[in-house]
Point group: C2
Chain length 118, copies 2
Amino acid sequence: MDQRQALAAFGALSQETRLHIIRMLVVSGPDGMAAGSIAERAEVSPSNVSFHLKELERSGLITQQRESRSIIYTANYEALGGLIRFLMEDCCGGNAEICAPAAAVAACCAPATKEELQ
Amino acid sequence: MDQRQALAAFGALSQETRLHIIRMLVVSGPDGMAAGSIAERAEVSPSNVSFHLKELERSGLITQQRESRSIIYTANYEALGGLIRFLMEDCCGGNAEICAPAAAVAACCAPATKEELQ
DNA sequence: TCAACGATTCAAGGATTATTGAAATATGGA
DNA sequence: TCCATATTTCAATAATCCTTGAATCGTTGA
């Protein structure tokens, strides 16, 4: 993830509806969610959700794929991980005081595999 | 860090000049930087840097303190760490696939202390 | 082919954010 | 007190973003 992508991703996450959408999509995993379901659960109009989904896709945080009549949106785990990494390394310079507590949090809920730790 | 603060922080980081400022302030550490020095190194006008510094302060990512004629701005390490934590836990639900690689990065450059790992 | 469904696009309007330069404020020293 | 320095505030303009509802597009099944 380069700076250009990070700026777009930060902008995407700075809006309440979009942050809500990202959360839902992370929870729903690889199956993703149809635009209509997202609109319903986020309680926004179809055209409004479409606007925000486009913004999120532009930032690379989600991807779409058509499935019959529906369009299924899925969180891009790699991009989200890349953004966290950008925030830690590129933005905060790997500063221990900033990153160590965050790393501790991650270590608690999801220990990294050997491969990932190399 | 609650959602309201996180939204403001993401918005603050979504602008090139402000991201640049945060980077500089993280590097300069507890000593911080005077508004004038920031403006000079970021190559923006004093009034423009003042606008962005106010925005960053409003988001909680930096703090200010007057030192004689200068106003010194300092990165708020706690807030930055809190934002990373928010991104991992609240936004990404502690998802292993997303958080583990990021945790690995942090583990490389700045191992957490025993206390932080508890 | 036609109607219904799921979703996007478009245009208009309002709201927020960014930039600029001039004026104002606060501080310290002569 | 007066001037210079460091910075902010203000007003005006430009640019971007958000919301809304109507129109459009692609897909499916009758």
